[in-house]
């Protein structure tokens, strides 16, 4: 396992991400990761707030259109996330905060898919799902943001 991670890191792609300068490579991927996550989490939070009673006169049918943008944002975050992982595979694989983040990102995305099926295309009010969604994203953001500090602490 360790050798696979090291191979990933030292692959042509892994090296390119680190060594392609200040404009492309690592900083650009990091920016796109942030842009993607703030689109997914931000729009999802807005939807959650709507389901919890803020702006309750905005019809859900109108917001259904947002799912295209939500999934696009998630795809961008996932692809750039994989690239960021490749660049520092050994470091991230030994970081507990990284796994907490993955679990709660999974929870957030699953909740979003449930929200669409059961609330947008079903007849549930979705208050519980909305609260679960907010909680998942908060933990995912916290764990993701603390990754840098946790890896510093354990090394």
């Amino acid at each position: 396992m360790a050798s696979v991670l090291a191979q990933l890191e030292q692959s042509a792609l892994g090296t390119w991400i680190h060594e392609s300068g200040l404009l492309y490579g690592y900083p650009l991927i990091l920016f796109l990761h942030t842009l993607g996550l703030s689109t997914v989490v931000g729009l999802n939070v807005a939807i959650d707030l709507r389901l919890l009673g803020v702006a309750s006169r905005v019809p859900l049918a109108s917001l259904d259109k947002l799912f295209g943008l939500l999934w696009a944002g998630f795809a961008l975050t996932a692809v750039t996330g994989v690239l960021l992982f490749i660049a520092d595979a050994t470091k991230h694989a030994s970081n507990p905060a990284f796994f907490v983040k993955l679990v709660f990102v999974g929870g957030g995305v699953t909740t979003l898919a449930f929200l669409r099926r059961r609330v947008f295309h079903g007849d549930e009010r979705g208050r519980f799902l909305a609260a679960a969604s907010l909680a998942c994203w908060f933990v995912a953001l916290t764990a993701g943001r603390l990754m840098a500090y946790v890896s510093e602490f354990i090394s």
Binding site: L35, A55, R57, V58, S62, Y149
Partner: protein, 304 residues
Amino acid sequence: MNLAHVHLLLNHVPTIGFGFGIGLLVASLVRDSADLRRAGYVVFFVVALVAIPAYLSGNAADVVLRTGKELQHDVVIAHQNAAMLALIPMEIVGLASWLALWQSRRWQQPAVLVLSIVTFVLMARAATIGGQIRHPEIVAAGAAASAPSWPSPAAMGAALVLDHPWVWPICEVFHFVGLCLLFGVTLLVNLRLAGFVGGFPLAEVNRLLPWAVAGLAINVITGMLFFLAAPDQYTQNSAFTWKMGLVLLGGLSLLYPTMFDEEPGSTAGILHTAMTRRLIGVCSVAIWIGVIFFGRYLPYLGTE
């Protein structure tokens, strides 16, 4: 032009702007005019936004002046603390003014008026001490530049972050929470403004706007704590300058959906056309993406 120059350009705006805003609010009371009252709130909100770069650029001016070695640094420190003491109530007035523009309540006008007058006095004090930095001739003989009894929130903020290693990471977490609130809600509102989602009035989705402003407030507070703890990391960085310029524009762009959310009817002027709305919606989203871009590139760009 450097940031010290920016400070010279902006440093009179908070005091004079608040004086102007107070004048408008008093006039609105005398003449019982809703238009004057809203104008006063707009002035307070805009000045509260401009006061942020005015404060930040002051640190850069300090760096420039320090190399000259000709000024008393304790006067600069006293000015900085006085400025922060005025900036805090100024941001609260800005926030309250935004709320009043969003949804008018009876108690808001007297509350904003009283707090803005207190702020004006504190800002005038900061400005006076600031004037002493370059004009020692106006300092009364024997008068200490700073009365030791005044609280120093700038020093307290820096100490909070520097003395506790967990404060910076916690602030980072909340900076991202604020970012998601601000970006997500403004994205939805601007998509509606630009016509990419529809089927409901703008005024309905505007019920969400306070959550965006709460995100902005969280990020101003956590961002200011970063800045207080490590000012040189930011004042010497051009990506930070760009980010702050865009934050100012982004804050201003919040005013449009806040103030012009009635449906374009028969009396629709240039401000209400679908084209104007689409332009403002698209530009606002682009501005916030720019803020994220320069924020993320901050460690990589702009540090020579």
